[in-house]
Subunit: 328 residues, 2 copies
Amino acid sequence: MAAVLAVDAGGTSTRAVLVDVDGHCLGFGRAGGGNPISSGTERAASAIVTAAHAATDRAGLTASDVGPAILAMAGSGVNPDAAWIRDALAAAGFAGHVELRSDLLATFFAGTFEPDGYALVAGTGAAGIRVRNGVVDLTADGLGWLIGDVGSGFWIGHRVVRDAVAALDGRAAPTALTSLLLDALAIRASTALSADGRPVAVNQVTDAVYRLRPVELARFAPLAFAAPGDETARAILADAAEALARLFGAVASPELTGPLVLGGSILAQDSMVADAVTAAAAASGLVSHTQPVEDGVVGAAVLALRSAGIAVDVVIFERITRSLAALR
Amino acid sequence: MAAVLAVDAGGTSTRAVLVDVDGHCLGFGRAGGGNPISSGTERAASAIVTAAHAATDRAGLTASDVGPAILAMAGSGVNPDAAWIRDALAAAGFAGHVELRSDLLATFFAGTFEPDGYALVAGTGAAGIRVRNGVVDLTADGLGWLIGDVGSGFWIGHRVVRDAVAALDGRAAPTALTSLLLDALAIRASTALSADGRPVAVNQVTDAVYRLRPVELARFAPLAFAAPGDETARAILADAAEALARLFGAVASPELTGPLVLGGSILAQDSMVADAVTAAAAASGLVSHTQPVEDGVVGAAVLALRSAGIAVDVVIFERITRSLAALR
């Protein structure tokens, strides 16, 4: 066995890395969405196999050189059955043992080798975990757009649309978000009323937004960050930050101190939301340091080595991080 | 022509009444959902024809005795094409002229014969109108569960589920809504954690709620009214009342004084929401009196008579109301 296979299978893209027992990343590959819940098992399996092949080719290896595989993906905790992807990888020549792991745990280990700490992720969705002895001890939120994901990209984008339309509709004070939303939807601002007594633009926004799948409202989250000085946008981001701070509070334990890893576009980039959440978490006294991460692929590699019985220390962790960065 | 046909075609039920030119209701009938957007044109047409036949039978008339038909339904303002129902009614022997009208305007005229005033409806959805000279002058909200309907039954039920789950998840203070929601879903309260580190009950609620169509979350709105003294429930209802007061503000004009008609289960029944909205509207000085209504069928009858050129005054209006009440 030359290397283990580690895969970070997300809803929109999949990343695969081959890593040897010393933490050297030998090959890296990408493909489309690899989550079976959002893409279906057939397309998800195809994406994972494509990414694994790309990583293997890049390493100058063949599938038969590759040992066990660890696949990090959302929903693995409640649906641990890996037959759909084990069979697809085996058919492609990857005959090693296959196990699924939590995408949230992969995010955590993308930022640290320490076995105890916290991760908060706010991308399209939002979730938090407490990690103890290298496994998920407690999870909060991550409950999807309809009943949870508070403070996520969906949640912010949804508020942007609702607040922009409320202003257009006369139910709320004017906001810069309205013109940003109309621009994003290529709708012309107009004061004309349609036959049902509504502003024409309100009906146009309504028609356009209901053509999207609800989660696609996450695409409007950046508008909240693009309206500095606007009171409505500021309130949305302040509410998101407060919700994500509460999310940290839900997983925080006075008995567990460690790093806080921040993932997802809302938290891993500099923003007033990330700053406020970092400050709130620091004030708890439970966070040794905060580490933003781009995705979970380093963490998938850490999980793959840990699963192979290798103790990932600071030397191996930094080797994974550096050698992977050189491959990307 | 013995009578005109007036139909109030809602998403879950349809009501038809035959009314003569003096306002005597001669027959009344009911059927299932008659809105083409929620039921499809075929089922909606079938429900409307069934209700019309029932009303005609009750009146001891036949379809050929019936003159023009006025059908009140949501979405008629943006989709005024009546061919789908004109053809179905003609095939059933109702050969009179057919016109669609706003369901919101029918709600207004269910509560008053005056040509100027306001209506607020909060059932599954929420919308407000200003009526001037008997037609809709301005509409606000009514934009559906995803981007509007603020303060509606869906909106309240959605908040109930979100807040109950947040409490169960450790992101919010405990609330009586949690046990009410678990009872409503027949889920047993438990502190056990599932494999993904979440309370088992959180995953059970999530599975149950995502099996519903989003609008069905309106079924949990009554829980907010069933938890007196609970701070979370009180905040939900206070926010709903504030949103509906803002909805009134969006359609209110300092130049137009008249009755405020309240429709839909959230506003037409006694509740702290209805009380607060009534008080806020009264404080505007633009409301002569407030009138709750059960549905829009009286208003459809008023619209049918107005459409036939009959001036509906207080005598005719009270005759419609009384004679219809005797038939229900």
